[in-house]
Amino acid sequence: MTPSEIKSMTLKQLRATLLEMTSPAWDVALTGKTEEEITEAARTLLAVQRARLRLENEKLAGIRDSLRTLEGDFVAGKNTIDQALSNLQETKVVLGAVKNFLTTLGKVIAIVV
């Protein structure tokens, strides 16, 4: 099992434990318990919540870091598209292609006709 899989399983277990410890059944089970037991239950519940938050943060930070490695490529892509759009807007560039098209067309027509 990889470290990532172990973390995922741990996180899944922590979430399930948190749901169990916040359930109405848990509250009913704590009814009539000693103050020490209730304090210990509160400590444990908040410790589970903190562990869950840390693991979630860790997982999301890992994905965030992976996403960041792609950002340079997206910026490059944006620049490329920007350039293509500029070219498209520059009528001269496109008309150059059109002129070639028309010239060829004219020659073909002249020859055939």
Binding site: R43, L46, N57, A84, L102, I109
Partner: protein, 301 residues
């Protein structure tokens, strides 16, 4: 007569050629447009999900801290709140980074859409049409029902469409690996965020059921006058867990649509499932924030 016949045949051949060229290019541009639009819609939904997830996690954490406070020894309370705050300071930075990334991705999709739907061809086509006579000088010589200028005007637009298409194809080729990796990571983000959100919402529901329904019933005190209505309302308010999978599903649908686009087998209908997922996300967010939704409705009236 022969000359007229030849020119007519030539015009028809040219038209057919151009129509074929256009027939190949136009759908492809529409596919780029549809995919870009889906990408924009996805990133917008993503940002809303991120906002909701962060809000819900803070609300649930606050709820737990408040409820457990009286059970914690005074000496432990300070360190407890500091530890929880530290986790949220880190979380807020991570979510801010994810937001910034989503904005970058959205602006990329917006540029792709701009390129796919640029209206430059129409203006250029008109300008090019005027060049026909001076370049070729055949306008007066060829008399047919279809003018050469019409053909060239259409041809110019198709050339520009080809130009757009080529730029998009080049970008697609250059960025294919990055985009696919991005969308796979988006799927992971949405899965993790969705699971966290599911837990927070279920914890909140647990606490409501316990505090408003179960514990009052088990106490020695008289039941609140509205206890029956509260219980009924709680039992009827179920959390549709499948809705929380919509964000992950939307990311997957977008990735599959992208793969289809790369492989040239994309159909606009491929986005139907994605659109359904996005609609489910909107429904969920509206259900979670009824007051905000009502307020927005009021503003429009």
């Amino acid at each position: 007569m022969k000359r007229h016949h030849l020119s007519l045949v030539l015009h028809v051949m040219l038209l057919l050629g151009l129509l074929f060229l256009g027939g190949c290019t136009a759908p492809r541009l529409q596919h780029f447009d549809s995919f870009s639009q889906a990408g924009i819609a996805y990133t917008e939904a993503t940002e809303q999900v991120l906002n909701q997830a962060l809000d819900s996690s803070m609300d649930t954490d606050t709820l737990l801290l408040v409820e457990q406070r009286s059970s914690l020894p005074v000496s432990e309370r300070g360190q407890t709140i500091i530890d929880h705050n530290d986790s949220f300071k880190k979380r807020i930075v991570i979510f801010r980074d994810l937001h910034l990334h989503a904005k970058l991705l959205r602006s990329y999709f917006q540029l792709l859409k701009t390129l796919a739907t640029s209206d430059a061809p129409s203006g250029i086509g008109t300008a090019a049409g005027k060049v026909v006579t001076t370049l070729v000088g055949l306008g007066d010589e060829i008399q047919t029902d279809v003018s050469l200028e019409d053909i060239v005007g259409t041809g110019t637009e198709l050339i520009v469409a080809q130009f757009q298409n080529a730029a998009l194809e080049t970008e697609l080729e250059a960025r294919a690996t990055t985009i696919e990796r991005e969308l796979a990571l988006q799927e992971e983000v949405m899965r993790e965020v969705g699971e966290g959100l599911r837990t927070d919402l279920l914890v909140a529901l647990n606490r409501r059921e316990s505090n408003e329904v179960v514990m009052p019933y088990g106490s020695e005190n008289a039941l609140p006058a509205d206890w029956g209505e509260t219980r009924k309302a709680f039992l009827q308010a179920t959390l549709d867990s499948s809705t929380l999978d919509a964000a992950t599903s939307a990311a997957r649908e977008l990735r599959l649509a992208f793969v289809a686009l790369v492989e040239g087998r994309f159909e606009v209908a491929d986005l139907a499932a994605l659109n359904q997922d996005l609609a489910r996300i909107v429904t969920l967010l509206e259900a979670l924030n009824p007051q905000e939704t009502e307020g927005e409705d009021d503003d429009t009236q």
